[in-house]
Symmetry: C2
Subunit: 220 residues, 2 copies
């Protein structure tokens, strides 16, 4: 997959703009666990996911985390390009959750393109409003949904992502995704286990009754 | 104040675009309490605040509210123009908090302008990312900040907005701003009162020690 396939409006650019992009666009392979953006105001650029999986999260002063977005094949991450999103006065961290192949487009080039190309400017609006919409959804979950429903939904989502019932994930990692403490996750998982919805072993959560979990998640 | 003063990029538009805007832009006066947008997918348009004060909030199925944004003189509200923010699959409500004078720009016209004007497209990006940034800030508050600090901060902010120590506001209204239950607000206000930071009478919260409140809010 070349860059033109991950950048949906590539064909709407002029030959000169396309050439400029291709001359500076970097391809990068990163291992799972790599920190791609550490919340510094420094503007790395847009990250296009060719393959793999990224995670964007917020971090509290006490070291608590909450996942705000995840990026898969063909997704584009703007959070590493704060100059594209002015008024941003906050820190978002980005790590690779899986080994990933990325294209990185320097922010200064992208900013220039936004200033000269209607297609790029409108594409950016779409991206930012997509992120906004995701955040509203997350906020709704946090504000109005009970933790058991959120956790059940998280497990079902992981099952879909990983394509397996046996999720290799620690309680700590789940807590970091959900913005809560490990103890809270452990307690709820034990409750799910007592209801025969999951079975727990060290480092693994095995989903044994997805239907019942879906009912808890409110999807049934 | 005419429309060109509330729309900062008005001068960057062509004469034809300016004329088109002025021919369809509606001026509207609304009373405090008027519901401007009830979360329906129907696309009203952009709201420019000439004077007054608006409030945008989310609503749970159980009727709980939380304020996500407030709009003052010269602010622009995009939430009532969901077609400008594609991918929006959520409901945001907008009411007038005070008697307000507004300009309303129909969404279809604005969408057309975005498709033809770089200035409008980039302005929209700025607006959306500003909203995004506000939402991240709010999420940080909700996730990591204790309720006493949030409430103290809310009261100090109201004091600034209203220009008085004696805030005419019910516990119920405060709860709706903060996304919590009235009882939770009442309990905390009573604690503030016992610490001589506020004094409570029916329908009024009077701030008696702003410095102490600022310390609770973490601003000191």
């Amino acid at each position: 997959m070349d860059f033109s396939q991950v950048f949906p409006i590539f064909s709407k650019l002029t030959d000169e703009q396309q050439a400029r992009i291709l001359s500076v666009c970097q391809q990068s392979r990163v291992r799972a666990g790599t920190m791609l953006h550490d919340g510094s105001p420094e503007c790395m650029g847009l990250i296009f996911v060719r393959s793999g999986q990224l995670r964007a999260y917020m971090l509290s002063e006490e070291g608590r985390e909450i996942t705000i977005s995840r990026f898969f094949e063909r997704d584009v991450c703007l959070f590493s390009a704060s100059c594209v999103m002015p008024n941003m006065q906050f820190d978002i961290f980005i790590t690779a959750e899986k080994d990933s192949e990325l294209y990185i487009l320097p922010a200064c080039l992208y900013k220039n393109l936004m200033d000269e190309s209607l297609a790029v400017a409108n594409y950016s609006c779409d991206l930012i409003s997509h992120h906004f919409s995701e955040l509203v959804w997350l906020m709704e979950q946090i504000m109005w949904k009970k933790f058991d429903a959120r956790l059940a939904q998280f497990l079902l989502n992981e099952r879909l992502l990983e394509g397996t019932d046996a999720l290799v994930i620690t309680h700590d990692k789940i807590a970091n995704h959900m913005g809560t403490a490990r103890e809270v996750v452990t307690r709820m998982l034990r409750y799910f286990q007592s209801e025969n919805m999951v079975s727990l072993t060290r480092g693994t959560v095995k989903i044994t009754d997805a239907k019942a979990l879906a009912a808890v998640a409110g999807e049934a």
